[in-house]
């Protein structure tokens, strides 16, 4: 387990990243905002899963299982989306 200071720093980082998404759509072109928002969302997810859910301290197999689940979602969404292009 991390200490309270680390948890607090991550919390602040999450708030900043969350605000960043909003700011991108306010101040940058749509396409850039779209790409940047996905990057920020992934960064936030990694911080929450890695440190708040302590994935970095768990056996790697748990991480792999979650990665497979995310892969399944991407597979379904991307392949279905591509199928109608």
């Amino acid at each position: 387990m991390a200490d309270v200071r680390t948890y607090t720093l991550i919390y602040v980082a999450l708030l900043v990243l969350g605000t960043g998404k909003f700011a991108f759509f306010e101040f940058t072109p749509y396409d850039i905002a779209l790409a940047a928002t996905f990057v920020l969302a992934i960064a936030k997810t990694l911080l929450i899963a890695g440190y708040y859910q302590h994935l970095i301290e768990e056996p790697r197999s748990i991480t792999y299982m979650m990665v497979i689940a995310v892969f399944m979602v991407l597979l379904l969404t991307v392949a279905a989306g591509y199928s109608i292009q």
Binding site: A41, Y52, E58, S61, I62, I68, M72, Y82, S83
Partner: protein, 820 residues
């Protein structure tokens, strides 16, 4: 010792959590649904005696019978029958005392039983669902079916299936944890018995596939109960359903067939007296199939408007998936060649299954080719192929029933009657299904066919009755065995090698006399009590282990049954609330034609179900129930994480797919609509940003709660949990404000597809928040009343895992719905 009533007592079967009892319940219930589905099949086969039917069923009744037959066989019989064997034998084969979560195992069974009852009751609610077992859109929503009056029965059917999927999900979590973390010392994955291997891969596939089905069913329920328009939209609905359904549906074929394959491997080894040829390669082939099963789903969509590139790719992956199966088939054949075959009843059924599966598999490859599929799609070729594959699985499972019957009951059966059963079964099967290949030009799902096809259909109908008779002979054989059969020894089959044959028939409640171990490379039993007292052998961790082994394990709880009843009442109530939603919509200028009359019984049942659920879940939560973890066990690759924590993670993996599929549905529909043409529903982005801050802060307070629990600081823990609760309620308050804003300007979830997707996706997330609120309330009550989590802080961590997941989902929902 156990506090279980004897097996002759009805109470025993209501309270039992023992894996063998639950296995028996599964087997008996599944056989009941087999008869239910079988009678429906006999009905429509009789109707098909002549083109246009013989007047036995009208059009709607025919559709209902065919649909319910599909649901009963695919969902309520096949997988649960295999689950019965898995419940009984997987713990025995791996040397475990029970499943990791015995009460959840019982709950899984009760949810299964009540899901079947809901499907059964739906016949008496104006008619059951009649849109085919694939539930294709838009026929899966009442708007596009002629009998709007059948809404309630259709709802009950879909709710029943949803309950079934919930049951599967809980069972999946349980078996994943059990097989990965409760294997006897020295039992590595490579050396696991092949039936257990097949079941392990089955539950891995179930984990992801059934989550997609749950997403599809939730969307359909939203359309049916709350009048959203996912599957009634002008464009994209049919493709959306087909994608999500078949992402589940194709792996489902292997989910159903793998346990049967496992039975075939076991029986071939036992009755040829030889280890399976190429055993390691067979395991690798099964893993390959499990992976590939998720890469072929669009071969069910060759006749839709998906592009040719993806069709070609799916044709290649479909042909590719047949290759590992070839390896398995040749391994079985070569095992027979190398061994000395004993033609017992279980072996005959397994061999028969192999023959039927080869025929079913080859005829399936035809359908995997795009050009041929254009011709065969929607014909009896598909019906015949499908049944040769699925019912070959049934054949092997019936072999499994004869194989394990002496172990379960302690009685031998008559080989002569067993062989008679097989002969009638095999003749009936081929008489029933083979003519359907010859009559392949007959269109599916209707009872009109060309005159020249009549003879094949009549032979098929005769075959159906012969096939049905074989099941009656089977039941007679087994009942005869129960009454007159000689006692079975521990191992009635020479050369069977798996651990279930090393214990008495039937096995004792606690399974083992001593702790099973494979440390020396073969199965042995360690006498723990002797180790602890004789010569001071046990030291340190081992001594602790001995202490744990001696912990009393509970085997009885009434609350899984109670939760099952409560959920049944709740779901039954939900099935009849559409009428009230229609009234609500009517009052807001949204007319829905032909809705059934409101019936106050349904809202009353819904309310009663909520109350019962509250009481039973609370009782379940506070009940003292001990299910000790095995102290010494093989756990690769999941060592270093406790059973419950692993269970939470497996559940979250499943929830990732549920949410992911629903978010994927949004992206798909938006792409179909034109990304830039999409109308953003929220009135502003600031409520989304505000709720982002609120949820992130609640994630922080949850992690603080864990820190306080670790420090055994009760006030801090209470404060942090209380803050989390308040933040969750704040989140819900902002959401309510947003929703209300839309309602005030006359926009509801039925207004457009954009509105439907916004309300359903954010609503499902809000439902997760509400569940989190209820858990937090329960935990606060426990902290206040019994100083909970001071000694053992793990439940706070488990709650945190769930709560952070809810937060992560919002990380994606916020930009998708408020910013893009």
């Amino acid at each position: 010792m156990s506090d279980l009533p004897p097996m002759t007592s009805v109470k025993r079967w209501l309270v039992t959590t023992n894996h063998k009892d639950v296995g028996i319940l599964y087997l008996i219930t599944a056989l009941f649904f087999l008869l239910f589905g079988g009678v429906l099949a006999l009905l429509f086969r009789l109707h098909l005696w002549e083109s246009g039917g013989i007047g036995l069923l009208d059009g709607s009744e025919y559709n209902q019978a065919v649909t319910a037959h599909g649901f009963a066989m695919v969902f309520l019989f096949l997988s649960p029958f295999a689950a019965g064997f898995a419940n009984y034998f997987v713990p025995l084969q791996i040397g475990a005392d029970d499943l990791a979560f015995p009460r959840l195992n019982a709950l899984t069974y009760w949810f299964y039983l009540f899901s079947g009852l809901l499907v059964g009751i739906s016949f008496f609610q104006g008619g059951t669902f009649a849109g085919g077992w694939t539930m294709y859109a838009p026929l899966n929503v009442p708007t596009y079916t002629p009998a709007m009056q059948a809404t309630t029965g259709g709802n009950a059917t879909i709710l029943g299936l949803t309950l079934f999927v919930i049951s599967i999900t809980i069972g999946t979590v349980n078996f994943m944890v059990t097989i990965h973390r409760s294997r006897a010392e020295g039992l590595g994955l490579w050396n696991m018995p092949l039936f257990t291997w097949s079941w392990l891969l089955t539950v891995w596939m179930m984990l992801f596939a059934f989550a997609a089905l749950l997403a599809a069913l939730l969307l359909q329920l939203s359309d049916r109960l709350f009048l959203t328009t996912y599957f009634a939209a002008e464009q994209g609905s049919g493709l959306l359903w087909a994608h999500i359904f078949w992402f589940f549906g194709h792996p489902e074929v292997y989910i159903v067939f793998f346990p049967a394959l496992g039975v075939m491997f076991e029986t071939f080894q036992t009755f040829t007296g030889r280890r399976l040829v190429g055993r390691k390669w067979v395991i690798i082939a099964m893993v390959l199939v499990a992976v590939q099963s998720f890469l072929v789903w669009m071969h069910h969509m060759f006749l839709t408007t998906i592009n040719l590139e993806i069709k070609t790719l799916m044709m290649a992956t479909t042909i590719g998936i047949s290759l590992p199966f070839d390896l398995m088939v040749f391994a079985l054949i070569y095992t027979m060649v190398k061994g000395r075959v004993r033609f017992t009843t279980p072996f005959l059924f397994s061999l028969g299954a192999l023959v039927l599966f080869i025929l079913g598999g080859i005829t399936g490859v035809f359908l995997g080719a795009v050009v041929l599929d254009y011709e065969f799609r929607g014909t009896y070729w598909v019906v015949a192929h499908f049944h040769y594959v699925m019912v070959s699985g049934v054949t092997a499972l019936v072999g499994g029933l004869f194989y394990w019957w002496p172990k379960i009951t302690g009685k031998m059966y008559s080989e002569a009657l067993g062989k008679l059963t097989f002969a009638v079964y095999f003749i009936g099967f081929n008489l029933l299904y083979f003519p359907q290949f010859l009559a392949w030009e007959t269109p599916r799902r209707v009872f009109h066919f060309a005159e020249g096809m009549q003879i094949y259909h009549q032979i098929s109908t005769v075959g159906a009755f012969v096939f049905g008779i074989s099941f009656l002979i089977m039941i007679g054989t087994l009942l005869h065995s129960l009454k007159y059969g000689p006692d079975a020894p521990d191992n009635p089959w020479e050369y069977s090698r798996t651990a279930e044959w090393a214990v008495p028939s039937p096995p004792p409640l606690e399974n083992w006399g001593g702790r099973p171990t494979y440390a020396t490379g073969r199965l042995e039993f360690v006498d723990e009590t002797k180790a602890a007292t004789d010569g001071g052998v046990a030291h340190g961790a081992e001594a602790d282990a001995v202490g744990h082994e001696e912990e009393h394990a509970d085997h009885a709880s009434i609350w899984p049954f109670g939760i099952g009843v409560a959920t049944f009442v709740f779901f039954l109530g939900l099935s009849g609330i559409t009428s009230y939603l229609v009234e609500f919509a009517d009052a807001r200028d949204h007319a829905v034609v032909g809705a059934p009359d409101p019936n106050i019984v349904y809202p009353a049942l819904t309310a009663l179900g909520v109350v019962l659920l509250g009481v039973t879940l609370f009782k379940f939560g506070v009940e003292e129930f001990n299910a000790p973890e095995m102290a010494i066990a093989e756990r690769w690759p999941f060592e270093g994480v406790g059973n419950t924590k692993m269970g939470v993670w497996v559940f979250l993996a499943s929830d990732v797919v549920v949410f992911g599929a629903i978010i994927g549905a949004y992206i798909f529909m938006r792409l179909h609509h034109g990304w830039g043409e999409w109308t953003t529903v929220p009135f502003a982005s600031w409520p989304g940003l505000l709720n982002t801050y609120v949820l992130l802060t609640s994630s922080f307070t949850v992690i603080l709660a864990l820190v306080f629990a670790e420090r055994q600081n009760k006030k801090g823990l209470l404060g942090a949990m209380g803050a989390t609760l308040l933040l969750a309620l704040t989140f819900m308050g902002v959401k309510a404000y947003e929703y209300n804003y839309k309602f005030q300007i006359g926009e509801y979830w039925w207004t457009s597809i954009e509105h439907s997707i916004y309300f359903v996706t954010t609503g499902l997330h809000a439902l997760h928040v509400i569940i989190g609120v209820l858990i937090a309330l329960f935990m606060i009550y426990r902290i206040v009343s019994i100083d909970a989590y001071m000694e053992d802080h793990r439940p706070v961590e488990f709650f945190g895992l769930y709560w952070h997941f809810v937060d992560i989902v919002w990380v994606f929902l916020f930009p998708l719905f408020y910013l893009m």
